[in-house]
Structure formats: structure tokens, C-alpha cells
């Protein structure tokens, strides 16, 4: 899955130090925000997310398993992925590539590493559950996005989702690995029937269930004014896609947009934990006539740091 059609045409970049996209053609401006809520029904929050601003790395995970084990699984997933992506490129990284086998040659270093990180998270959760009998059956979904130089790397397992709002259209970038979604893909259920199904919580793939796992990974080009959304199923089961698109369009501040979506999900029942991460991408046009359109160059105030001052 996910072979790159533009591979090979990009200037090859080595392993290099990890830094946010810098001055290579379009200047990327990224602002992000995220929020999680236990919801109105559950007592535990098994969701977890992390925004690593210096890397433009965004990870969201929804855990499952009795007692507090879902929380352990999702936290372990997020921690493993962030750690693996932050580690400077080293021999250890090459080992990871070996462990997890072949990947399309066209994939960028970032996509490979992100995909490896998800494999590693699966391994860690599975091993932890093997070692601790009380953790048996714990697992987690994960949706992870890494942005670099107008390109988005995406790795995904489970039924959390990534959406892209572009030109007014909300487009889903991930396939749910759930039974009902598979039935829709096979033409057995309609999307509306899937939404009413009692089998919605049955997953075909999740981190931790098996020692090895298939990871969906893709790369996509980014354009100015793109808005990216990562969310757990607590949002998408409560809030419709037009409502999601409307909220993202109405609220330019990523933190406020995330809060607005969480409020909507809670207002409509909040049956599950709700986690939302919103990322706004803008491209500083540096064409020869851009200063004519915009007047004097402005100092940008992008990168909305989540949190207090």
C-alpha cells in the first residue's frame, strides 16, 4: 500500500539532524493544538496524545483493555513512537529498519522511521502484556503524523482517524481497521448501516494483539491552508463529518478548534473518551511577486504553543 508516485524526483536528503522544515523552497508555518476528554460516560481516559513541536510530530492513541491497562497501552504507544522519532539517526535506527523488513524505496527517511516506530510500539505493548498476565488483552490504536518540508508522513493502525480539510472538502486519510469498515469496503454494508451497527467496536488490527503487525503508512504533499485533524473514535462516533469540517473552518486557532470539537462530542453524549489534535499548515509564498501582494514582510506568529505562558 501507499507507493509514492513522485518518488525519486525529490532531491535526496540524507539522514541529517532532525529539524523542522527550513528554508527549502516553501516556508512551512505550522500551528497546532490538542485536547483530550474522558467524556460523559467513561470513568477512565484511555486516550493519549503528544505534540512534539520542534519535530512537527503528532501522535494520538486510543487504548483498550480492562482496568487501567488501556491507559498503559496507549501511553506506551505514544512514548515509544515519540522516543524512536526523536532519537538522532544512528546505527540503532538501521537495526530497526532491518527488524521490520522491506519498505518501498520511494519512502522518505521520516516515513520509514515513523512506520518503524509503530512496529516498535506494537512489539513493546505485546511484550509488556506477555510479561504481565494482568495486562493480557490490552491494546491500542495509533495515528501518527510527521510533517517535513511540505510533505506529510502518516502511519496508522486501528480506528482512530486522520482527516485533511482542503479546499473545503474533508478527506479521510486513514482506513479504519474495524470489522464494519471492512464490510463497507467489501460492499456488504453501506456507510449508514455501519454507523448503526453494534459491531463498531470490533477491530481487525490493533497494537499489542499480535507479536507482529501490518502498519498502514503513506506520504502526501501538503499545500497552504491545509488543516489536519487527528481524532479518536470518541469524536467520530458523536460528531458528523460536516460538523467537523464546519468547526475546523469556523475556528482558526487550533487549540480552540480542538476544544470546540470536544465540546460538540460531549454535548452529543460523550459516550467514549474524546481526543482531538488540530494542525494548521501555511506556506509562506516566496515567489518574486509575493511582496507586491502582501506589502512589507511580516514577522510570523505561527506555532501556537499549547499552554500557558
Amino acid at each position: 500500500m501507499g507507493l509514492l508516485a513522485w518518488g525519486g524526483r525529490l532531491p535526496g536528503r540524507g539522514v541529517g539532524p532532525l529539524r523542522p522544515a527550513e528554508s527549502q523552497r516553501p516556508q512551512l508555518q505550522i500551528a497546532s493544538g490538542g485536547v483530550t476528554s474522558v467524556g460523559r460516560v467513561r470513568v477512565n481516559n484511555e486516550d493519549c496524545f503528544r505534540i512534539v513541536e520542534p519535530l512537527n510530530l503528532f501522535v494520538l492513541s486510543d487504548g483498550m483493555g480492562g482496568e487501567a491497562h488501556g491507559e498503559i497501552a496507549s501511553a506506551l504507544a505514544v512514548e515509544t513512537i515519540v522516543k524512536h522519532c526523536m532519537a538522532p539517526a544512528s546505527s540503532e535506527d538501521k537495526d530497526a529498519t532491518l527488524i521490520f523488513g522491506d519498505m518501498p524505496m520511494a519512502w522518505s527517511e521520516k516515513t520509514r522511521r515513523l512506520s518503524n516506530a509503530v512496529h516498535l510500539a506494537n512489539k513493546n505493548i505485546h511484550e509488556s502484556a506477555q510479561k504481565n498476565p494482568e495486562q493480557r488483552g490490552m491494546g491500542a490504536t495509533v495515528t501518527a503524523v510527521w510533517i517535513d518540508d511540505a510533505r506529510l508522513s502518516l502511519a496508522h493502525v486501528g480506528d482512530s482517524r486522520a482527516y485533511l480539510l482542503r479546499s473545503g472538502a474533508l478527506q479521510q486519510l486513514t482506513n479504519d481497521h474495524s470489522l464494519v469498515a471492512e464490510q463497507v469496503r467489501r460492499g456488504i454494508l453501506t456507510p449508514a448501516e455501519a454507523e448503526r451497527s453494534e459491531m463498531q467496536s470490533v477491530l481487525l488490527r490493533a497494537l499489542g494483539a499480535h507479536p507482529e503487525i501490518e502498519v498502514d503508512a503513506e506520504e502526501h504533499p501538503l499545500f497552504g491552508r491545509d488543516v489536519l485533524l487527528l481524532c479518536s473514535d470518541g469524536l467520530t462516533r458523536m460528531v458528523t463529518e460536516p460538523e467537523i469540517a464546519g468547526s475546523l473552518q469556523a475556528e482558526p486557532d487550533p487549540n480552540k478548534a480542538a476544544e470546540r470539537l470536544v465540546h460538540l462530542a460531549n454535548d452529543q453524549g460523550g459516550a467514549d473518551n474524546i481526543t482531538v489534535v488540530v494542525v494548521r499548515v501555511d506556506m509562506e509564498s516566496r515567489g518574486w511577486f509575493s511582496w507586491l501582494r502582501r506589502g512589507a514582510p511580516k514577522k510570523s506568529t505561527a506555532n501556537g504553543a499549547a499552554g500557558g505562558n
Binding site: 501507499g2 481516559n45 482542503r166 463497507v184 456488504i188 499549547a306
Partner: protein
């Protein structure tokens, strides 16, 4: 009894117990736990027991409430957690007994109806086989074994045929577009095709494509044989073996 300790740079500012009443946290002095800092909203958050669990709830504060670095709207607290509000943090001591009401006992032990589960290998195989058997009878499934392909009929592009393999296919002048348009004044992102569970949808980019001669008004599901026109490029959308 559970206890909250307001800290500023490792110095203890104030300590309050959490009983049956919610503990209000904020800049206004009438809070149970006042925090004197401009980054803190007047009524910033509150902590209370619900169904036997200690819960923190952000009250639409301007700068947010964080539990162990995670921005939260509502979160269950555990012993040893830290709540961050501006530059202050509140240590959570939940080691003591929790106040119990009859309501909380009932709620905590109620079965979870919508528990997520993963199918094991055998269950998965059985269910997918069953699904496949049903799928063979549906018309749509036969199309799914074929590759969705864009065949260029006329216009300027880098290839004559494109097999759609990505969730999102970009049509435009961009170097990273799958279907690359050539020529002056072509937009970087002209249109895009999104693979969804129930099919392939063409949507607008900086331009609005036409399908079978009609400009689309929003993402439109493509059928085998549809004619797509965008920026002088005419393509057939077909399922190929």
C-alpha cells in the same frame, strides 16, 4: 482523604483536601485554591469526586489545564499526577480513602457496553471469510478486485495512465502531485481524489472539476467510466484488471 498541593517552583503554596464538594481553582480569590498569576483564568478548573474517581475539569480557561503535560478538558486523576496551570502545578495525593456514595458504587461496577475488542486470528479469519462470501454476491466487490485507473484522453500531463494507489491523489502542477499538469498558469493543486470505504470521490482543489460534463458542487463519488475534466485535461476513471 485526597489532597491537592499547590506548588510554585517546588515551593508549597497551599494545600487543600478534596471532600464531597468540588475544589475550585482560579485567579479569583473566592476559589478554594486561588492561584495568583495572570496566566490563570478567574475560574480556571475544578477538581471533584465522580463515581469514586478524582476528576479535573477545565472551565474553558484561556490557557488550558494540563495533567502530566497533556492538555485536558476532563481527566481522571491518579495518585502522584501533576496538574499544571500556568507556571503553577498542583500535586495530586489520592492515596487516602475516597468519599463513597451509593451512586458511585453502582456506576463504577456497571458493565461497559461498548468495550473495544480485537479479534484473534481465528475469529478474524472466520469473520472475513464470511464477509468475503457475502461480498462475492455483491456487484461492488467484483469491481474492488480491479485497480482504479485514470486514463488520459487529451491534455498535457506527465503520464498517459495513472493507477490510483494512495488514499489521496493530487492532480496539479505541484512537483509532488500524482497527476502532474503541465503548462503555464496551471494551479499547483487543481483537484484531488479521495479513496473512502465506499468508493473514490473527486473533490475540488483550486479549481472545480467537471464529471460527465457537469461541474461538481462538492466531493462526488466516481463510477466506472466517468469522464473527469480539469484544467484542459480530460480523463476516464475506470476499474482495470
Amino acid at each position: 482523604m485526597a489532597k491537592l498541593s499547590l506548588m510554585f517552583e517546588e515551593k508549597l503554596v497551599k494545600e487543600v483536601p478534596v471532600g464531597n464538594q468540588p475544589v475550585g481553582i482560579g485567579r479569583s480569590p473566592d476559589n478554594d485554591l486561588p492561584v495568583d498569576n495572570l496566566a490563570v483564568s478567574n475560574y480556571h478548573a475544578r477538581v471533584y469526586f465522580e463515581a469514586g474517581r478524582l476528576v479535573v475539569e477545565d472551565l474553558d480557561s484561556l490557557n488550558g489545564t494540563f495533567v502530566n503535560d497533556l492538555r485536558v478538558e476532563r481527566a481522571t486523576l491518579h495518585d502522584g499526577d501533576s496538574i499544571w496551570i500556568g507556571k503553577h502545578h498542583i500535586k495530586v495525593d489520592a492515596s487516602g480513602d475516597t468519599p463513597v456514595s451509593s451512586d458511585s458504587v453502582r456506576k463504577a461496577s456497571a458493565p461497559r457496553i461498548n468495550e473495544t475488542m480485537v479479534l484473534d486470528t481465528k475469529q478474524r479469519r472466520d469473520m472475513l471469510q464470511q464477509a468475503a462470501a457475502m461480498g462475492e454476491r455483491s456487484q461492488f466487490a467484483s469491481g474492488r478486485l480491479k485497480m482504479p485507473t485514470l486514463v488520459v484522453l487529451s491534455g498535457s500531463s506527465d503520464q498517459r495512465e495513472y493507477v490510483i494507489t494512495n488514499k489521496l491523489t493530487v492532480i496539479g502542477k505541484s512537483k509532488m502531485a500524482t497527476v502532474r499538469l503541465k503548462g503555464w498558469f496551471k494551479p499547483q493543486l487543481a483537484a484531488q481524489i479521495n479513496q473512502r470505504d465506499d468508493g473514490y470521490y473527486v473533490g475540488p482543489g483550486d479549481k472545480v472539476p467537471s464529471v460527465n460534463g457537469m461541474a461538481i458542487s462538492g466531493p462526488l463519488r466516481l463510477n466506472d467510466g466517468d469522464l473527469i475534466e480539469i484544467c484542459g485535461l480530460r480523463m476516464n476513471f475506470v476499474f482495470r484488471d
